[in-house]
Symmetry: C2
Subunit: 392 residues, 2 copies
């Protein structure tokens, strides 16, 4: 059945608007989901809102406030929300109750709350109060919008995206290690956009020692459409994590001199992850090694720990070794390839390690979720079809 | 200056229509260019035509005939043509004269004839007869449409396009040689479309021995939009050429059993290319070796020979060895990559040979001319920025 079946053209139009509003939150709401809300009465939009960031009001509250400021009567109006209104008393009272109290008579939601512990409870509050509820309009779009959040809630692991810049013959450096610059300036600006949407940017000690990167978000390098959303620099400070199994990091690298927190993940001797704060912005994480190799940290345990501290998404910016590790262990969900139209030759460094495959049937398959031009380069986003959970 | 400056909106609209008509010829007109013509009087299209194939009437004649069949008065009308009308008496009288005799009062052309020997002569015939002439409307589009033809006319060499199917990590086979199927069915159908647009499909003896391909065009496997243009199979029979420097071809391979001509290019002892017909459909070409390697045929001499027999474009479907050779010698103009979202690993066969580069400045750069989805794959068309004419 189509996801718009049973809904009117007006319903579709207003839900699309609510999805657009929700999108504005994508740079700031995590660890919360991005949600949008539109309140409509007699075919007129009388209030709009979206969730800005954790600790601030939810989309429904923002839309009701907007209607109040416009001095509009919300009794009998319809609310379009991109996610089931919440049912719990947290930092804010439940939105389902807020809508009831405001006199909203109909709620159209894009999707149920995916958290099995609360799913359906918001709708129940509404229905018990006599509000008409319908759900499922543009559900795919709504799921897509918050896929990192939902993935984290449902699986207990963050959504992991690998960013990979390479030549069209899939090389990430020349044989002498030179890799500046394979991709174009436009691609590098787009990487700033990706960083701004992530809670964590993770790299290897190897990359830090070799390239001495900042891995921060530089507002002035963000694409125009993002700067338009944030006319002043709100200070995007994703947590930067360096995987340093061999303890080669000296803490004098440039990454420590840029504002924002940094974690250095090293091998610990306990079987749980322990955090030792060594300054306001620097923490050393002691992470268990993998079972089969005492010199490798367990990414699975690191990611579980990150999820426990409310990290929903992780972006990986590293070289072939770390990327191949993550892919081999089935821990990557998405790879964003920035492909430069250059031919570097078979003696340059391959994007991935050897896989020892002897049949096309065994080749890891992804699906292409998005293709676009990025300056002179092409950006291809691929998702893993099945996350193979190989032995660690 | 913009290519539409000085032209009216109507002019733009009719020239776009003429370009659309010209496009229909792309599968059949070579060695002639694809040309479209629209005749307009009082803002009404009164005749349309396009050149179908060499030996048949030109676009202008087709459009005048169409106007005649519709019983429309062409005196005083405007003709929109995608290329300067011809000025020579060939199998047909010159089109410039045809337009004058029909009483056309204005000609709008997208571009001059690029052949320096005749360029401007068609316009001169028109102007001498008092016809108003303007040129340059959508010139880029018109050049793009016939870029193979123009390239061949101007340089004396065919336009060479490499088709390359590979995984996103740029591998063309597993280490054991397995390569069926890396790309999707949709990509393979698109390759049929590419073959149908080429006069020559060139491969290596290696590929013929290993994969035993037909390299023909199978009408029923063409994409729908092409079958729509040709509701019955017109018999696309591109010349198939096998590069067989080591004389391993036995003439019993499948390629010889499919309809259409085949040439086998072997090393000859003369310094010019000699053709020996060994059956109705099979010719052995004796091609000089390159100067630096007596076991390699000179592609430059082979291509010059092909151009001399009216071949305007060559499509290469082969493995890494031949493709790398062509690229290294600066003989490829375009590579169409069909990229499957699969990771085959560094032990699989790389798309290109080693290039021995030690600085990013020396990396061959291409420009992306087109990106699109092709079923599950992504198709990226790249053009070489500068054809480097390295030593043979």
């Amino acid at each position: 059945m189509s996801e718009t079946a049973g809904f009117s053209e007006q319903d579709c139009m207003f839900m699309k608007r609510a999805l657009k509003l929700a999108e504005r939150g994508l740079y700031t709401t995590l660890p919360n989901p991005a949600v949008g809300c539109v309140i409509v009465r007699d075919s007129e939009v009388i209030g709009e809102g979206w969730h800005h960031r954790a600790g601030e009001p939810h989309a429904e509250v923002m839309a009701l406030r907007d209607a109040g400021e416009r001095q509009k009567e919300v009794r009998g109006a319809t609310a379009y929300v991109t996610l089931e209104p919440c049912s719990h008393f947290g930092r804010t009272p439940p939105c389902a109750l807020g809508l009831v109290n405001a006199g909203i008579s109909r709620v159209v939601a894009a999707m149920k709350d995916p958290n099995p512990l609360v799913s359906g409870r918001g709708f129940k509050i509404l229905e018990d109060a006599g509000v008409s509820v319908s759900c499922g309009l543009y559900e795919n779009e709504a799921r897509e919008l918050n896929r990192a959040f939902f993935h984290s809630i449902v699986t207990g692991m963050p959504y992991v995206t690998v960013k990979y810049g390479m030549s069209i013959d899939a090389r990430v450096a020349l044989s002498n290690g030179e890799s500046k610059w394979i991709t174009s300036e436009a691609s590098r600006h787009d990487v700033q956009r990706m960083r701004a949407r992530h809670q964590v940017v993770l790299t290897s000690a190897n990359t830090v020692v070799k390239d001495d990167p900042s891995l921060n978000v530089r507002w002035q390098e963000l694409p125009f459409e993002v700067r338009e959303l944030f006319p002043a620099d709100p200070g995007f400070l994703p947590l930067r994590i360096i995987v340093d199994a061999k303890s080669v990091i000296t803490f004098n690298e440039k990454i420590f001199r840029c504002p924002g927190p940094v974690m250095v993940a090293r091998i610990g001797d306990s079987d749980i992850v322990r955090a030792e704060k060594i300054s306001d912005s620097i923490t050393v994480l002691k992470v268990p090694a993998t079972l089969d190799d005492p010199s490798h940290i367990s990414f699975r345990k690191l990611f579980k720990y990150l999820n426990a501290i409310n990290i929903r998404n992780v972006m990986i910016e590293a070289g072939r070794g770390l990327v191949s590790d993550i892919v081999r262990h089935g821990l990557a969900h998405e790879i964003v390839f920035y492909i430069a139209p250059k031919i570097m030759g078979a003696d340059a460094v391959s994007a991935f390690d050897a896989l020892g495959l002897s049949s096309m049937k065994d080749v890891p398959e992804l699906s292409v979720s998005e293709v676009s031009r990025c300056g002179e380069d092409v950006r291809i986003t691929c998702r893993f079809k099945e996350i193979s959970c190989l032995q660690e």
